[in-house]
């Protein structure tokens, strides 16, 4: 990493300037049906600079960590800003003046040997193979990523942060009696930290693996859902994804400016008054969130962004530029993935807040519907229209859980679906294994309680 001396390159420059040095590391292991198909390590590091000028930015990056490169990217970023300003002459005002950050995160880099990760994956795979030899296929995947960055902003903000994450996923496929293959995938463990801080002995995962297999067997004998709008309970992983995909993106200020459905709804009731959605920065309910962010890549100290409060759309997620446009305060949502990426408005840890209901009471309240517990993918539109693939769920008949269901989809319009919510469970759980995609990838987490609502479910 570049040393603090690069601070002198930024301090006092007349144009608003960010200078960032960053290292990204990614380790991956992938074992498919016993074959080691992925065994890789990748590191990228370098410096980048971004300069603001009258409503436009210039940006430049180089994959080299030297002070000379820092000077070069500063020069090139300034030239780019001048080039674009000279062409378009937007004449816009300066950026929002955030409080000055001075933050150093204490988390030493741990260079985990590949053998340690590989042995863990092998032992996990051996367990699955030995215990469940009749599976049509199986896979064990480990992904570890780490982002260390050093940020200096011309306003005086400084941050040195390090964000490691390690995740292990298992997928199983079984042949059903009708000859089709039925699959189920789940995250066995994922969280903030280096691999050896989170994973100690594969036996700690055996119970979760057994549960996954049990669910797969239920799904193998499962039925297809009946298409149509019905009462459903969506579990926390799906609720979190709706908070992120179907609501969160529509209230990112850049997408609001681009015409998202939230553009005309500020201050309006967009959900049941039971619904509150917050993009948490680093702490929630007195505990660190799964992927805490303390200072963003514009040097803004991070705070929670309240998006929906008691059903009312209360705010957007901003960067320094959009904050001026909307007259709002930026809460530290400007994030960049690699050294060569410019900061974009991104979510951090987005969640629906829990309610007061018990899950068993929620199930008991439904005569004919579904309890949907697992999604593997989801997409949403800037109109709030969403679609998620459901990979695990159960019928609810007369207030009781019934048969498992095969893969299906749910769809709807977020601000309409959220108005149908009438019960929320009293527990929140988080998912932190994913990346959000928006020009650049970004590690994010989302969470929520179990949510009872009306939703459109697909069928055969």
């Amino acid at each position: 990493m570049l040393h603090d001396k690069i601070k002198d390159l930024v301090n006092g420059v007349p144009e608003y300037t960010e200078l960032r040095a960053q290292v990204n590391t990614n380790y991956g292991i992938s074992i498919v049906s016993g074959n080691l198909v992925g065994n890789s390590r990748a590191t990228s590091s370098g410096v980048s600079a971004r300069v603001y000028k009258n409503g436009v930015y210039g940006f430049s990056s180089m994959g080299d960590d030297s002070e000379e490169s820092a000077k070069n990217v500063l020069r090139a970023a300034k030239e780019n800003a001048l080039f674009l300003d000279g062409k378009v002459k937007k004449g816009k005002p300066g950026l929002y003046e955030s409080p000055i950050a001075d933050f150093t995160e204490r988390h030493d880099f741990i260079d985990v040997p590949q053998k340690t990760i590989l042995d863990y994956a092998r032992e996990t795979d051996d367990y699955i193979q030995n215990k469940y030899p009749d599976l049509a296929s199986r896979s064990v995947m480990i992904r570890c990523d780490s982002i260390e960055r050093l940020l200096h902003v011309s306003t005086g903000s400084f941050a040195h942060t390090i964000s490691p994450r390690a995740c292990l996923y298992v997928s199983m496929t079984a042949e059903a009696t009708d000859g089709t293959n039925v699959e189920l995938f789940d995250v066995m463990e994922c969280g903030r930290g280096y691999f050896t801080e989170l994973f100690h002995d594969p036996s700690e995962l055996y119970e979760k693996i057994d549960t996954l297999h049990e669910k797969l067997m239920a799904k193998r004998d499962g039925v297809f859902s009946e298409a149509g709008v019905c009462d459903c309970i969506i579990d926390s992983s799906i609720a979190g994804m709706i908070a992120h995909e179907a609501v969160g993106h529509t209230v990112e200020a850049d997408l609001v400016m681009a015409g998202s459905v939230a553009a005309s709804r500020l201050g309006q009731q967009v959900a049941s008054d039971k619904i509150t959605i917050i993009d948490f920065a680093h702490t929630a309910f007195g505990k660190p969130v799964p992927l805490p962010v303390y200072v963003d890549d514009e040097g803004t100290p991070c705070e929670d962004a309240v998006l929906i409060e008691n059903g009312i759309l209360t705010g957007y997620m901003n960067n320094k530029e959009s904050a001026v446009h909307f007259g709002m305060k930026p809460c530290g949502n400007a994030r960049a993935y690699e050294f060569s990426d410019e900061p974009l408005i991104r979510m951090r840890n987005t969640a629906i807040l829990p309610g007061k209901d018990k899950l068993e009471d929620m199930i008991a309240s439904i005569d004919n519907g579904y309890y949907l517990t697992r999604t593997q993918n989801g997409q949403a539109d800037t109109t709030g229209e969403f679609m998620f693939g459901i990979t695990m769920g159960y019928e609810i008949k007369n207030g009781k859980l019934g048969r498992a269901i095969r893969d299906t989809t749910i769809s709807g319009v977020a601000f309409e679906m959220l108005k149908t919510v009438d019960m929320l469970s009293d527990e929140i759980s988080w998912a932190s294994s994913g990346y959000c995609g928006k020009k650049q990838p970004m590690p994010v987490s989302d969470g929520g309680p179990a949510v009872k609502c009306k939703i459109n479910i697909g069928g055969r």
Binding site: N39, R41, V56, K90, G389, S411, G458
Partner: protein, 434 residues
């Protein structure tokens, strides 16, 4: 950086890998300069220039594999990475199917423009924005990313393989929606790769048709009911549908695992006679494409399905050895679906009840091809005509069955610099709404 320097770096990388004990080794060294112009919410917002390098190395030692990627090209960094790469191989698993490419005639390839004209490029993008505003006033560009990318790569291995490829061309991708008062459409996207800065960018590919449809989508209403009928996939989403099916049924994992319904269908009919799908990275209609594969073989175009018959799996060399099948001569994403004989207008006329799908929002299909997705930017077809735009519409079916139920392929094709695709009508697709 000069080509000779890249070759020196590649040679040095291989020497380090051998020094640390590799039996076989390969590397790819790449340098790229990119100039990027961004438009956000209809306004120019960012000028970005990046200078990137990478060295990716793979070793096989005692039939075990290690892979490392770094973005440094100095000797010290390469030496350290090579040492780590071999160490990773040593702790890996024995697999007799690992290999590196065999020696062919080495070759240096080049494609594209000699150098960028930054001013002219910017003015072409400005012209594009003005043209768009004048011709499609209700269309709003949510984000546009235009770039000039110049990249040179060298692939080398210890069997003596050495290929290089320099590419330099322009690209433009736009994400957009239409707005009129309170009415707004779903977003959609379009993109094009090109080398000619004299043509109007808006006239390239099928962009005009896409923007015209986008304005019509403002009157979209939620679809009600359910029917099974014909789905016409526009080129803007046909590529994804076909690529997904090809990967699902002929890709590495599906064949190694034997989860593909086509596992034993080579040489057999898997689709309607009208369907021919080819990978065409070397083609006058493709910008850039591919000249050597990721494994270090000289690229050749490849038919995957020809007149409905499965000609090839899309297998890497590793998967080919693992499954006892043949390696595919390219795994490039540049694809052609061969045009049919029916004019697009006539293709629509034959449909009593169906849907024109311009974008699909959905996840991966099941291994047997079952899928469901939301049909975005889509229109109802009734009695041979496009009657109205629809929203909140789900389509479902089975990809393998769909390929066997092709009723028509248009004579017209869309070219975006990467793929050549017609409009294809599939029967037996279930369309459902609220």
């Amino acid at each position: 950086m000069e080509l000779a320097e890249l070759k020196e770096i590649a040679a040095y990388t291989l020497s380090c890998l051998k020094k640390y004990g590799a039996d076989d080794a390969q590397c790819k060294v790449r340098f790229s300069d990119v100039d990027e112009i961004n438009v956000d919410a209809g306004e120019f917002s960012l000028m970005r220039s990046t200078f990137d390098s990478s060295v990716t190395m793979k070793v096989i030692k005692d039939s075990k594999k290690g892979v490392i990627a770094i973005n440094k090209t100095d000797k010290e960094s390469i030496d350290a990475a090579a040492k780590e790469c071999v160490a990773n191989a040593e702790v890996s698993a024995v697999d007799d199917c690992l290999s590196i490419a065999e020696k062919e005639e080495n070759e240096d390839f080049s494609y594209g423009v000699a150098e960028s004209d930054r001013d002219k490029f910017f003015e072409k993008i400005r012209e594009y924005m003005v043209d768009l505003k004048n011709d499609y006033p209700k269309v709003f560009v949510e984000q546009l990313i235009a770039n000039y990318s110049e990249a040179t790569s060298v692939f080398a291995n210890t069997n003596g393989v050495e290929f290089s490829y320099r590419t330099a061309y322009y690209s433009m991708g736009s994400m957009y929606s239409a707005h009129d008062g309170d009415k707004t459409t779903s977003f959609n996207s379009t993109g094009i790769d090109f080398t000619d800065l004299d043509k109007k960018i808006l006239d390239m590919g099928t962009q005009r048709m896409m923007y015209e449809l986008c304005e019509k989508e403002l009157d979209a209403v939620p679809f009600e009911g359910k029917f099974t009928g014909t789905a016409v996939f526009a080129p803007s989403c046909l590529g994804d549908v076909i690529a997904t099916a090809i990967d699902n049924f002929t890709g590495d994992e599906a064949i190694i695992d034997s989860t593909s319904p086509w596992r034993h269908s080579l040489g057999q009919k898997v689709a309607s006679d009208a369907l021919t799908v080819s990978l065409i990275p070397i083609d006058d209609r493709v910008i850039g494409g591919e000249r050597y594969t990721a494994e270090g073989y000289k690229t050749k175009n490849c038919d995957i399905i020809k007149n409905g018959v499965l000609e090839n799996f899309t297998l890497s060399e590793y998967a080919a050895k693992k499954s006892g099948e043949k390696r595919c001569s390219t795994l490039s994403g540049c694809m052609e679906v061969k045009a049919g004989d029916t004019p697009y207008a006539d293709l629509l006329k034959k449909i009593d009840k169906g849907i024109l799908v311009c974008r699909m929002s959905g996840g991966s299909p099941a291994s047997n091809g079952d899928f469901s997705a939301v049909a975005k930017n889509s229109f109802l077809i009734e009695n041979g005509k496009i009657t109205k735009p629809i929203s909140e519409t789900m389509i479902s079916g089975n990809l393998a069955e769909m390929l066997q139920n092709i009723t028509d392929i248009s004579r017209e094709t869309a070219e975006d610099g990467s793929c050549v695709l017609p409009w294809v009508a599939f029967n037996g697709v279930t369309v459902s709404g609220k």
